[in-house]
């Protein structure tokens, strides 16, 4: 039976204001790469990020040795035996095969489990690189085969995961509420207004909202509700649209603001109705 110490994972870096700000700069750099670019962004000795199509496929920072294998072990209950994982790891090191891929092929972890472990590792790496203050070096293109699309992550997802670290309970509740309001084709974000600005705590929908879109939506919603508060402090929902573009629904519940981008006005009207019913009843509307 594995001991507690072999399963312990070094504590995550809390998303302090400075780290969040630096992480946004880092993620913005990823978004600034050419749309089809595949390769590596190195941050000196502090870490690196593998990128494909402005999504993040992998990231690692100094001081994260063995973290992924520990995360992968925890994707099973009871956790995978340490000896088994180390054996697979040695084989992978010899062949260059990714550890997660090998465990997935063996049926030892699920696709969902692998994705969760990779995402946790990547988020932690981005936080550590951001904390280090290291600047990105020149982009190193990668000419090989692309990364598995099941295991790549948008800049928006990573940003929300970092923001959620500031208050995990609140972020989890916000994610549930956001999810309950979603409809097909919609994409949404939940954020909290703090002294440092809007802090994203959840994103939903496919394709995932990207960092620049999230920042734009948050800025717009903040301005809109500031105006609304002058006119009528009781304003709780805003819905906007045009004949030739997206329709957007924004609302606030307690300290969290939400914005959902809808593909058309009809979807926005349904989302608005769901949100109104939820706010009136105080309960989540069943998806």
């Amino acid at each position: 039976m594995p001991s507690i110490s072999t399963l312990s994972i070094p504590p995550s870096i809390p998303a302090e204001a400075g780290i969040l700000s630096a992480a946004i700069q880092l993620l913005a750099h990823v978004e600034s790469l050419p749309p089809a670019a595949t390769g590596v962004v190195a941050f000196g000795q502090e870490g690196l990020i593998l990128v494909e199509g402005r999504n993040i496929c992998w990231a690692v920072a100094s001081g994260m040795k063995r973290r992924l294998s520990k995360l992968l072990r925890q994707q099973r209950s009871p956790p995978l035996e340490l000896g088994y994982v180390e054996e697979v790891l040695r084989a992978c090191q010899a062949t260059g095969r990714p550890l997660g891929e090998a465990l997935l092929a063996d049926g030892q972890i699920s696709e969902e489990g692998l994705r969760a472990a990779l995402f946790s590792h990547i988020t932690e790496a981005v936080a550590r690189i951001a904390q280090s203050g290291a600047r990105p070096g020149a982009f190193g293109p990668h000419a090989g085969a692309g990364y598995d699309p099941r295991f790549v992550f948008s800049t928006g997802e990573v940003l929300a995961a970092l923001g959620a670290r500031r208050n995990r309970a609140l972020a989890a509740a916000a994610r549930r509420h956001l999810r309950s309001a979603m409809l097909a084709g919609a994409r949404g974000v939940a954020f909290v207004r703090e002294d440092i600005g809007p802090v994203t705590v959840a994103v939903e929908g496919r394709p995932q909202l990207k960092l620049p879109e999230i920042l734009e939506l948050c800025a717009w919603a903040c301005s809109l509700f500031d105006v609304a508060a002058v006119v009528d402090p009781g304003v709780r929902i805003a819905t906007s649209g045009s004949s030739d573009a997206n329709a957007v629904v924004a609302w606030r519940k307690s300290e969290v603001h939400y914005v959902i981008v809808c593909p058309n006005r009809a979807t926005a009207a349904l989302v608005t109705a769901r949100v109104g019913a939820s706010l009136d009843s105080g309960e989540e509307v069943e998806p």
């Binding site: 620049p212 879109e213 734009e216 939506l217 800025a219 717009w220 301005s223 809109l224 500031d226 105006v227 609304a228 002058v230 006119v231 009528d232 009781g234 304003v235 709780r236 929902i237 805003a238 819905t239 906007s240 649209g241 045009s242 004949s243 573009a245 997206n246 957007v248 981008v261 009207a269 608005t272 109104g276």
Partner: protein, 122 residues
């Protein structure tokens, strides 16, 4: 009851979006007070330069922006506010208020019609 209050109780006014002043309206009673409140609030916003209508309508001019609206509807428990920007003159807009928050689509349609009417009368 005026035309502007026919279906949802929406009352409306044409507003100079640069100054926050009411250009023309067909309202009465409590609704007039509501519009006065709104005009006063708008003036305050413009006076303090706290907001731009370009921001409200999502015209942030970012490339590939998700924003850029013709209308904004604000909903409280008791009122609905409809803000429309004129397609003829972006400096002109319509502000509408209704106490019926059950049918936002109808309020928006009424506001659009009212904007066309008021623009034609000017």
């Amino acid at each position: 009851m005026s035309d502007s209050q026919a279906q949802t109780g929406l009352v409306s006014a044409l507003v100079d979006l640069r100054l926050g002043t009411v250009l023309s309206a067909s309202v009465g009673g409590d609704f007039e007070l509501m519009l006065e409140d709104l005009a006063a609030a708008s003036s305050e916003l413009f006076a303090t330069d706290r907001v731009s209508w370009d921001v409200i309508f999502g015209r942030l001019q970012a490339r590939d922006s998700l924003l850029g609206f013709q209308d904004v509807v604000l909903v409280s428990a008791e009122r609905v506010y409809v803000l429309l920007r004129s397609t003829r003159d972006p400096a002109i807009g319509l502000v509408g208020i209704s106490t019926d928050s059950r049918n936002l689509g109808l309020a928006l349609a009424e506001a659009r019609n009212r904007l066309r009417q008021l623009e034609a009368e000017r």
